[in-house]
Symmetry: C2
């Protein structure tokens, strides 16, 4: 597996880490970066993440055999429209968007049909930080990448994207776009909503200075994801509205049950919830430790 | 500040760490442990956390000048009843319970009035682990301890308990019991409810194996507190029912607003929530880093 020229549209944590990982594995020739902020792109050159840059997606993809799009979901369609007609024959396109249904719909709208050599993907990795400064070559190691091919996806393009992520140390899984969006709504989008809402709700309390002063222990870990990029998360919410609304509603029901158990002073019911949760979390943490060792 | 004989009722993370911190500061003579599990108490002796132990609270407090009670809230009243009539004249009692209203009510019921030399307290520190094995001398360093004296609390007893926590490196604050319970409902009890509920709700989904397999990044931090002791949390919930119910209801309202913004596709409203939350979280994390450096 070797990429001669990789175009990265959006050189942040996700795009930058892919470039670094491929470079570390000596699996890429030239890397062209594309984005809006000259300062960020200059920093990416200085860090050795990309070789050169342009602000024009069309110029970036010209001559590239592989194109990776890692922009916020709200900017996907514009990028697809900008590169249409400028791709080399045989160039493979893939992306890192956290919602797959919306990205596929954007590609369909921009290209008048999902291009066979576009492989929709989602690396399940990241931190609460953003920008090329936060990128690192090991981000994807032993992390999962979900690819969500559609009916007309070219099997060879799919195989090459799988191989690319394999080189970065990731474990690649295939899934339907709809199933991906439901799973991620539950495991990622809902937790982010809870963390953002909790911190916002505490911050809007009159005594908010005091409130945060007495937060400790688990609070810092629990709310870390509330430091994530607001724009990225606005876009994810809008792009995955349907599944996210369902899980929020189901979760609000869980809270209602919990409040009812409190009202009734039903300690057994509370204990049952907490014990099931602890068992599942301990099991998950055990697996997670195994996976990262 | 020196304690000649300290009785610790409940030798787990909280009680064990207090003993270790006082020993490390050479501020305590003898430490007597009391609890139900002989294995845990034997381990505590082997680790040098306590000098000797008994299963009888009355025997443990006899001859002690300071008594620290760190049992789950549901066991507080039983401990107060067991030690009543066995305390030395002048012995100071304090506790580590996460809810103050209920502990004060338990003391009142057991002693027929809150004893003047009982200083209700709450060290805001802990991890998701429990048991004496998890205890360490630095747990309270630069952490806050809230003391909630009542009208008849002896000022000298209060000063001694303040000094004891100061020796452990903690910052001591005074607050009314009711205010303490409201603040903690928002900053600690609610986050734990959200983490427990989320993990339980995911675990009960049909595809729960898959769900957890694709959880990553922030999920592990976000759900860490769901590994906390179920019995301890059942007791906290029951003891702080009123304030906890209020914050759960307010939070359910926040989720409702979020769902409405999603329904309306109102990106500006979502962005405003996420930006306020990120600003508050980043500010908090900055202060937290300063506090622990």
């Amino acid at each position: 597996m070797r990429i001669e020229r990789l175009a990265i549209i959006g050189v942040g944590l996700i795009g930058g880490s892919l470039a670094r990982a491929l470079r570390a594995a000596d699996a890429v020739g030239e890397v062209i970066g594309c984005g809006r902020s000259a300062a960020n792109l200059e920093r990416a050159v200085a860090l050795g993440v990309i070789d050169r840059f342009t602000h024009d997606p069309a110029a970036a993809v010209t001559g590239a055999d592989t194109v990776f799009i890692a922009v916020p979901l709200g900017a996907m369609r514009g990028v697809f429209e900008a590169i249409r007609g400028h791709l080399d024959d045989g160039a493979i396109i893939t992306d890192g968007g956290s919602v797959k249904g919306s990205v596929i719909a954007d590609a369909e709208a921009a290209f008048g049909g999902v291009p066979p050599r576009f492989v929709p993907g989602h690396p399940i990795a990241g931190t609460e930080r953003s920008g090329v400064e936060s990128s690192f070559a090991e981000l994807y190691r032993q992390r999962r990448v979900i690819l969500t091919p559609v009916e007309n996806t070219d099997p060879e393009a799919l195989a090459r994207v799988e191989a690319m992520w394999g080189v970065c140390g990731a474990e690649v899984t295939r899934m339907s776009p709809g199933h991906h969006d439901e799973v991620l709504a539950a495991t990622s989008h809902l937790p982010h909503m809870l963390a953002f809402s909790l911190v916002d709700s505490l911050a809007r309390m009159k005594e908010n200075d005091e409130i945060f002063r007495f937060a400790a222990g688990g609070f810092s870990d629990f709310t870390r994801i509330a430091s994530s990029s607001p724009v990225m998360w606005r876009d994810i919410c809008l792009a995955n509205r349907g599944p996210l609304r369902s899980v929020i509603k189901r979760f609000a029901g869980e809270l209602h049950d919990l409040a009812a158990a409190l009202d009734a002073g039903d300690g057994d019911r509370l204990l049952a919830i907490f014990e099931r949760a602890k068992a599942a979390r301990d099991r998950y943490a055990g697996n997670d430790r195994k996976a990262s060792s």
